[in-house]
Symmetry: none
Subunit: 225 residues, 2 copies
Amino acid sequence: MIRVLIVEDEPLIAEAHAAYTARIDGFQVLSVSHTAQQAMATLRTTPVDLILLDLNLPDMNGLELTRALRAAGIGTDVLVVTSARDLAVVRSAVSLGVTHYLLKPFTFATFREKLLGYARYRSQLLGAGQVPAQHEIDRAFAALRGTAPDSLPKGLDQNTLDLVLGVLRADPVPSGLSAAEVGARMGASRVTARRYLEHLAETGQVVRSPRYGGPGRPEVEYRRV
Amino acid sequence: MIRVLIVEDEPLIAEAHAAYTARIDGFQVLSVSHTAQQAMATLRTTPVDLILLDLNLPDMNGLELTRALRAAGIGTDVLVVTSARDLAVVRSAVSLGVTHYLLKPFTFATFREKLLGYARYRSQLLGAGQVPAQHEIDRAFAALRGTAPDSLPKGLDQNTLDLVLGVLRADPVPSGLSAAEVGARMGASRVTARRYLEHLAETGQVVRSPRYGGPGRPEVEYRRV
DNA sequence: ACCCTTGCGTTCATTCTGTTCACCGGCCTG
DNA sequence: CAGGCCGGTGAACAGAATGAACGCAAGGGT
C-alpha cells in the first residue's frame, strides 16, 4: 500500500484529490495538509511514500518546500499538481526529483495514469533484488516516466490523431479549417478527418464554428483553442 | 551546445568520460573536478547544463553533493555514474532529481544513449514554447527516462534485426515500407517483420505513419529517421 | 414559398492490424 | 539418449480504422 500525503490549500480541491487517490488500488491517503508548515510537521512524524503537492501554497512555494525536504534529507517522492505552465518551473521540478508533473485541470484517467506509473516504478525497484543491473534501472526509470497515453476511444488511432493536430498547427491561417481541407492536407478522406476533429471538439481541444458565404449548406470549420 | 562538468576523482576515468562526451554531437566538456569542493566552486562561477557525477568522491558522497546543490538553489541536471548497485542509492538519486543513473562499467553506446536522451528532453522542453501542455510535458519526461536498452528484449534476434535494417536501408523509395512489404523482402512473415519494426519504432530508430488511400483500414508504414 | 446548391452526418463493405497460440529447433538436465 | 524448457517464428482470427456512397440539413437565390 502506497501512503500518500496531499498538500493543497484549497479544501475542496484537496478533498477531490483525496477521493481520486482513494479510488485507485494500492494507494491510501494518509493525511491532508493545507500549508507547507503543516506538511513539514506531518512528514517529520509520519512515514509517507508519495506527496501530491500543489505548488501554490499560502506560506511557501511548493518547490521551496521540496527543496527544504531534500535539504533535510527527506527523500519522499513528490508528484507536482499545478496549473503553472511555466518551463522554468517544470525544469526546477525535475531537478528536484519530482516523479511527475500534472497540469490542472486533469481528468481522472490522466491522474490515475500518473499514479499507476509511479506504482510500477516502485514495484520494479523494490522487487528487483539487491543487485540491480543497468537494464533493470532503465526499466524502472522508464516506468516512472514513460506514460501510457490516455487511451483513445475505439475507432481512433494515435498516429492519425497526431497527423490531424499537426495539420491544424501547421495552418498559416489561424482562422480554422473545414474537415474536407484537413482531410486533403493530411492525405486522408473528409470522413476520417471529421472523425478526429469531432473527437478533438468533444475533448475541448478544438472549437467548431459555421462558415457562411456561398450557396449551399455552410461549412463547419475547426479551430484550435 | 550542452555544457558538461565531469566530477570524478580517478584522473584516468575522468579523462575517459571527457573523451566519450566530446565524441557526442552537441556536448562540450567545460571542466573536470576531482573533488566535491572543487565541483561546488566551479559551479558557483561557471554556468553548467549537466553534471556527470561519480558518487564515490574523496571528500563527500556524490548524493550529498547533489543535496547541497539543491539546497543552494542550483538546479543543474545531474547524471550519476557509479558502480553502486544499491537500491537505496538509486531511490535517493531519483528523489534528488538525477536525470539518469549509469552503472559502471558501461559501453560507449550505453553512455551515448543516456546523453542523447538528455539532449532530447532538453530540446523538447526548450522548444515547446511558453505554454506547455500536459502531453508535451509527458513527452519530455518520456524522452528523459524512456531509454533504449542495449540488449534486445526477449523474442528478438540480432540477425533478424540486422536483416530488417538492411531492407529498410536498401529501399530505393525513402517513403517508407509497410510491415507486409518488409516481411516479403526479407523472406519472413508480416508478423515477424512487424515485431522488429515496432521495436525499432519504440527505440526511436524508425517512425510509424499511416498510409491512407483506398477503402479499408490504412496501412502503417515505417520509415528510418 | 419554392427550388437549387453544397456540405454534413452516417452507414457499411473492405482491408489491414494486432494478438494469440501452436510449432519447430536448439540447449540444458538428468 | 529421452525429456523438458526456452527463444523465435508464422498461420489463423477477431476486430479496428478507413472511405465510397447516400439521404438529409441548411443555407442562398428568385
